[in-house]
């Protein structure tokens, strides 16, 4: 399939700052790809996320979505429909007075019948377990509920690419399972996702991971290869899966362990 999302030598400098936020990053994504972007605090992950969705324009280089450039104001309208962003701080994106109106807001800006809008909003509420909160004020929700709502807001718009910044923060294990299923469904529908985090465990099922350090993309490859180089991963500020860390500390070198089931069977066999 043809690449639909391209970062071509993308750099960004914050106004008034001498240091580069993001420096010469290249990336090509095909539809249905799950990319994990890993890195320490301050490595440039959130800046890269904002460049990917057109909220920031590259100082040099270009971000292309289906051939349209984020640097061009006219083309941004198209890009905003294709790329959805879920922020680290969910409050930043809420505009409506109730959870239901909040989910409806984006859908209503598409030319759809009221019946389709009603169905889509209902689907978003049930998919993210928000039915009982439909009349609540988004700003009155708990941190975890806000996170689910911000995902629902973007999900109902069916963008080709969803960008999520630390999506598992403030979620309990039940909600995390919802998010895992959410990703599987996206992949099945040919949608793509870029997941920005410092935890490798969150992106173990990614097709590819890109590691950021001081604004530069310093490594690209499948997540399994990163597991095999734990010292380097730690040096980049990446958090390894707890089972991998524990195995390392207990002197289990082979096989590479990524979860509790595997570690239990290695330790008691």
């Amino acid at each position: 399939m043809a690449p639909f999302f391209i970062l071509d030598q993308v750099s960004y400098c914050y106004p008034g700052s001498l240091t580069t936020g993001v420096c010469q990053v290249n990336l090509v994504l095909e539809p249905g790809t799950f990319l994990g972007v890993l890195g320490a605090n301050g490595s440039g992950k959130s800046t890269l996320a904002r460049l990917c969705c057109g909220l920031l324009k590259p100082t040099t280089g270009q971000v292309l979505v289906d051939g349209y450039s984020t640097a061009n104001e006219e083309e941004l309208r198209y890009i905003y429909r294709q790329v959805g962003m879920v922020f680290q701080q969910p409050d930043n994106q809420f505009v409506a007075a109730t959870v239901e109106r909040e989910i409806a807001f984006g859908v209503e800006n598409r030319t759809l019948s009221s019946e389709v809008i009603r169905q889509t909003v209902g689907l978003g509420l049930s998919y993210f377990g928000l039915e009982t909160l439909r009349n609540a004020d988004p700003h009155s929700l708990s941190g975890g509920e806000k996170r689910l709502l911000s995902l629902a807001d973007v999900w109902v718009l069916k963008p080709k690419l969803i960008l999520v910044d630390e999506p598992l923060a403030m979620l309990d294990p039940g909600a995390k399972q919802r998010i895992t299923r959410f990703w599987q469904d996206l992949r099945d529908q040919g949608q793509s996702m870029i997941w920005f985090t410092h935890g490798l465990a969150e992106v173990l099922s990614a097709d590819l991971v890109l590691v950021m350090e001081n604004g530069r993309a310093v490594w690209t490859g499948p997540p399994g290869e990163l597991l095999a180089m734990p010292e380097q991963a730690r040096a980049w500020g990446i958090t390894l899966p707890p089972a991998t860390e524990a195995a390392d500390r207990l002197g289990v070198k082979e096989p590479v362990v990524t979860n509790e089931d595997e570690l239990v069977s290695v330790l008691w066999k």
């Binding site: 941190g143 630390e166 909600a175 958090t239 707890p242 207990l250």
Partner: protein, 278 residues
């Protein structure tokens, strides 16, 4: 310093919305110099409890009393960076102490101490807090709370946006401050591993009620309750629990991270010496 919460009930009512009971009959006694974890599913009332203990929410019924000790009860809220307003990091952290009518030199000393304690690089002290990354902003917010020299510190999801080294630094900082100042800590988080490395006591909040008040070792005995609410044990306790359930000669009910590691190392050491398998 001690915080006593008696029969706390908080009911939210907004125009046009059904009343929501966020807390229901919560009775708690929190001691200074001790660290407690606040666990619970999303929307279980953790933030409401912290806000009520800090005096930011007036309970619908019940009472909160603070006895003895020096320093205020300070709450570090979720997403604290939303409250930033000052031109530089130093000014942001100085704002609280300045409002306590302190000498300028003492304010400056407190700011230095707090920013050093949270391990923020010195070249970042003079930039705008809005220019910092999410993880750096968390450190500034914690420094602002610490600069108040609290007698009791309530933390709401303090690890959000912190990477591994950032979380390790936070644990080290909080342990050090607890040892040096005798501060009391109550920490709400969805990250049981973080809580396990910092706290001894565990409070489980479900639907606004205190469902358990126990220790980490005691929580292992309540694993079925945890699962019923879709919650997890810390990784090390869960690993020990699984090994014990599979018949391995380990004791799962460990009270601290150090004890859990000691038990795992002992077990692995004996296995290396040729101990029996399943």
């Amino acid at each position: 310093m001690e915080i006593n919460a008696k029969e706390l009930t908080v009911v939210f009512s907004r125009d046009g919305e059904a009343k929501k009971t966020a807390l229901s009959g919560v009775t708690l006694h929190l001691k200074g110099g001790a660290a407690a974890a606040l666990l619970g599913p999303i929307g279980s009332g953790k933030s409401t409890l912290l806000r009520t203990l800090a005096g930011l929410i007036k309970p619908t019924s019940g009472s909160v009393t603070v006895d003895g000790g020096e320093g205020p009860v300070v709450l570090a809220i979720q997403e604290p960076q939303r409250g930033f307003f000052a031109a530089t990091v130093r000014e942001e952290v100085a704002f609280g102490p300045e409002n306590l009518d302190m000498e300028a030199a003492e304010v400056a000393a407190r700011v230095d101490w707090a920013l050093t304690a949270v391990d923020l690089k010195k070249e970042r002290w003079t930039v705008s807090p809005f220019q910092l990354s999410g993880g750096e902003q968390r450190r500034v917010a914690l420094a602002a709370a610490l600069a108040m020299k609290p007698g009791f510190l309530l933390l709401d999801e303090p690890t959000i946006g912190l990477d591994g080294p950032g979380q390790t630094a936070l644990i080290t900082t909080l342990r050090k401050i607890k040892a040096e100042t005798g501060i009391g800590l109550l920490v709400a988080s969805h990250d049981p591993d973080f809580l396990f490395s910092l706290t001894q006591r565990v409070l489980l909040l479900v639907d606004g009620r205190l469902a358990a008040d126990t220790t980490w070792g005691g929580l292992v005995e309540k694993v079925d309750t945890l699962r019923a609410y879709n919650l997890e044990l810390p990784f090390l306790l869960s690993l020990l629990y699984r090994l014990e359930a599979a018949g391995a000669p380990v004791a799962a009910a460990q009270e601290s991270e150090e004890q859990a590691w000691a038990e795992l190392n002992r077990f692995c050491g004996e296995r290396m010496k040729g101990g029996s398998g399943p």
